[in-house]
Point group: C2
Chain length 338, copies 2
């Protein structure tokens, strides 16, 4: 591998001069500059990033935390889209992206130490268990960090307006003549609680009792979607609409409903959450709340980069608007338009 010393020798100058050329720092005569650039090109010079980060104590790398055992990981399109947008923006900002996970115990099993050993400039917590001590330790450190739906105080966060989204979706169903709306909530997290609040508030607006049918269901799981559906079929016969916690469980739910002879949307209206491509491929198309995944990723990148570069240092929380994607899985309910 050719180094700046090789180039210096070739150009009869010092390594400092060469370094300055590549860093656009100091004053170098146009001629020398040209000569060095040409020599570098000719000799196939490539800088050694490790050496650079050693002296700068800055790696120009950020980590993306993706826990493996949460079976989803990247499998769910919401996360892969966010990641993609994040990395596009990070690349534009000249950062490399390193995948890190719970398993990444490079040093003494601690995630934070792992990040420190790599001298990561920052971390994006995309999909992880916010109750895990390892993540809490990371967030409590001085490492710049931004999280998707991260519920810690004083930590930068990007997320959708879950309360509003849930409220709007409930209103949407109410406005279409549904009153007996089953709410199948996700696992008990901050955002789930927000969504339940939105659901309740929308019902309250119409003077309806708070929880017509409320039930838990794990996120992103075929099995969970099926079980929740079976419970719904067993314990409640009167609902005309069911809101699922995400598109995955909603789609699985629709299939399960068919087994009970219930057809969607004729016998039961169904809604999802997230707005993955798949919901639009199937028939009936899934009516759902579309999260702005690409903006979530892009903004997370900007927040993180700003923080790393010291441009903006105060923790911020960005909550993005969602929109309802009107598919074909909702039909007017029995109470007509109000």
């Amino acid at each position: 591998m050719v180094t700046i010393y090789d180039i210096a020798r070739e150009c009869n100058c010092s390594s400092a001069t060469v370094s300055k050329v590549f860093n656009n720092t100091g004053n170098i005569s146009a001629k020398k500059r040209q000569e060095i650039l040409e020599a570098a090109e000719r000799m196939g010079y490539v800088p050694n990033i490790a050496a650079r980060s050693l002296v700068n104590s800055k790696s120009n790398m950020v980590g993306v935390l993706l826990f493996v055992d949460k079976a989803l990981g990247l499998r769910h399109e919401l996360f892969s889209e966010i990641l993609n947008a994040f990395r596009v923006q990070m690349e534009a900002r000249q950062y490399e992206i390193l995948l890190i996970s719970e398993e990444a115990k490079l040093w003494q099993g601690s995630l934070l130490r792992h990040c420190n050993a790599l001298r990561l400039d920052g971390v994006f917590c995309l999909s992880c268990d916010y109750d895990a001590p390892a993540v809490k330790e990371l967030a409590a450190s001085s490492l710049p960090l931004v999280g998707f739906e991260i519920p810690y105080e004083g930590v930068s966060c990007v997320e959708s307006k879950n309360y509003e989204a849930s409220k709007n979706l409930t209103r949407y169903l109410l406005a279409r003549g549904h009153r007996d709306i089953a709410f199948i909530a996700g696992t008990d997290t901050f955002i789930t609680r927000e969504r339940i609040r939105g659901y309740r508030d929308a019902l309250a607006e119409q003077g309806l009792p708070p929880d017509r049918y409320l039930q838990r269901c794990g996120f992103f799981s075929k099995d969970e979607g099926e079980i929740a559906t079976r419970l719904l079929m067993t314990y409640d016969k009167g609902c005309t609409a069911a809101m699922y916690p995400d598109d995955f469980t909603a789609i699985a739910g629709m299939r399960e409903l068919k087994k009970y002879g219930i057809s969607v949307p004729e016998d039961l209206s169904v809604t999802g959450f997230d707005g993955i491509t798949l919901g639009r491929l199937i028939s009936p198309q899934l009516t759902t709340v579309k999260q702005n995944a690409s903006e979530l990723g892009r903004i997370a990148a900007d927040i993180l980069a700003d923080r790393v570069e010291g441009t903006d240092t105060s923790p911020c929380s960005v909550r993005l608007e969602t929109e309802i994607f009107e598919g074909e899985s909702v039909l007017p309910g029995p109470y007509g338009k109000e």
Copy 2:
């Protein structure tokens, strides 16, 4: 950040001794060793990976190449599963994973230079355009490399047995009484050609003419799946089964078919390829070829790590068995069982 010098001072020894302890190299007395370890823990020492890779000229990082503009990227579950398995195994082998893409032009716009600047130990080409000069350059270099479905001579490759898979799937349909089988092929790549070959050979086995209905269709795209379906509806009325190039297009196709009043599988049997979770969530469940994504990823990781470590240096090609997932989208055809 505390360094080995800090520890050395604390323990009244030299940095060399400390280094040896952490590298399990040289002979250090158990007592000294213990003392150093304790001091390190107490002082919160973390090694500086950059310094280490500077001296070792080895980064212990591998890149995963994922082109962005191929809209799919990670969106398709096949890729995210492979990536996940790859990274689990790589982590077990003590490598970090860096995401790289076409856009990653850290140095002079060349992917190879980018990798060299980062001193990557190897690269896994997971989803990229094998006709792109940047990728060819990478493969032609001395950088250890393994590719998923990579069609270059002398480059390590992991892939499914596409020829056999396609042949078996065609046989499966033939055995169930179908003869007029439409083959909707993917974009013109090596594996598409393999699959066409498999399709033809299976037909030939039964003395049937080679291409009953053969047509192109882009991979992984809702639009492409719909267009292909419309063409099928327009130009061919006699097929009783249609094989799509992947699950995405197959699912989109089923939806489009419904618009034509064709119901699956009663009026037309449909098959996909890949075996993503979504195919099992919908109704009818998609009959498809399941690729062993997790093995593909794991093996790619082992091949790459072996090559990096010099354990195994000859290029190899691993072709994995697939299996047919029997969903509900295929019904017996008009020619009865043979």
